[in-house]
């Protein structure tokens, strides 16, 4: 038997997924930037 989708929950899931991907990516970029800056400073010393 097929279940009826819960549109409210799918809306919540959809928006959570979209913003989690964006926030996660931004966090990854910031972390990478900090690491690279530190590495560059050490190399310049």
């Amino acid at each position: 038997m097929e279940s009826i989708p819960n549109t409210q929950f799918d809306l919540f899931l959809g928006y959570t997924a979209i913003w989690a991907l964006i926030a996660g990516y931004l966090w990854f970029l910031r972390r990478e930037q900090t690491k690279l800056r530190r590495e560059l400073e050490e190399l310049k010393r």
Binding site: D10, L11, Y15, A17, I18, Q33, L36, L43
Partner: protein, 237 residues
């Protein structure tokens, strides 16, 4: 001035990119979410989950824009072999991958609500999945191969292959009759009759576009930093 120094000066020190763009983007995204949830009417057939549509379409259009930039930088790199084009290619591929992932995930969730299936092997969905895989390989290629001209050339070639897929994705919807596939042709079939749907869509498209531009600059800055670190290592031998 090397590209690394140029990016350091323009991206990391520009208040427009560093302060104004993130602030403007955050405000626009908040406004878009508010508009979608508080002003746009509830769609009668699909219900609440239809509100995924605004950011799903916005992400798809921005993904096409990012892949267009990948195409431009790939062609330019193959023509004049300047590392600046490769950095742009790297940043644009990365953003394109993020946006394609958002389109795929949000589309599957919306599809589950609207059609009661997460995925179906029909032209639009299958071609988009194929595009996502190509963009994924563009990103993976850079992390696997060492930084040399071979990696740059392969990245450019993959970028062109990804861009060639865009018209296929767009026109794939015409391959089957409308009653044989689930993915709708909203704009072409003159959907969005209520002007509030159109306004919501335009605001969301603008918000995701601004967000993509901001992320692109952050990613470009990181790519330039990485290039500078590699250059230091090479100089040291």
């Amino acid at each position: 001035m090397s590209i690394e120094t140029f990016v350091q000066h323009t991206i990391f020190r520009s208040p427009w990119i560093h302060r104004v763009l993130p602030a403007f983007t955050s405000a626009l995204v908040a406004f878009a979410i508010g508009y979608v949830f508080m002003v746009t009417p509830l769609e009668r057939v699909m219900g609440a989950a239809q509100k995924i549509f605004y950011f799903h379409v916005g992400s798809a259009l921005s993904a096409y824009g990012a892949i267009a930039l990948v195409f431009l930088s790939s062609v330019m790199y193959l023509v004049d072999r300047k590392p600046a084009w490769d950095l742009m290619n790297e940043a644009a591929s990365s953003i394109a991958f993020l946006l394609c992932s958002i389109v795929l995930v949000s589309g599957m969730i919306w599809g589950h609500s609207a059609w009661n299936v997460w995925f179906r092997w029909e032209p639009r969905l299958a071609t988009f999945l194929f595009l996502w895989l190509i963009v994924l390989s563009c990103v993976l290629l850079r992390s696997v191969l060492p930084d040399d001209s071979r990696r740059r050339t392969l990245g450019a070639v993959m970028g062109i292959i990804a861009a060639v897929n865009i018209p296929i994705v767009i026109f794939s919807i015409k391959l089957l009759a409308r009653n044989e596939q689930l993915h709708p042709e909203v704009v072409a079939q003159q959907g969005l009759q209520d002007p509030r749907y159109v306004t919501g869509l335009l605001i969301s498209v603008a918000a995701v576009a601004c967000l993509s531009v901001w992320l692109f600059f952050v990613r470009l800055g990181n790519a330039a930093l990485r290039a500078e670190v590699d250059a230091h290592f090479r100089r040291r031998g």
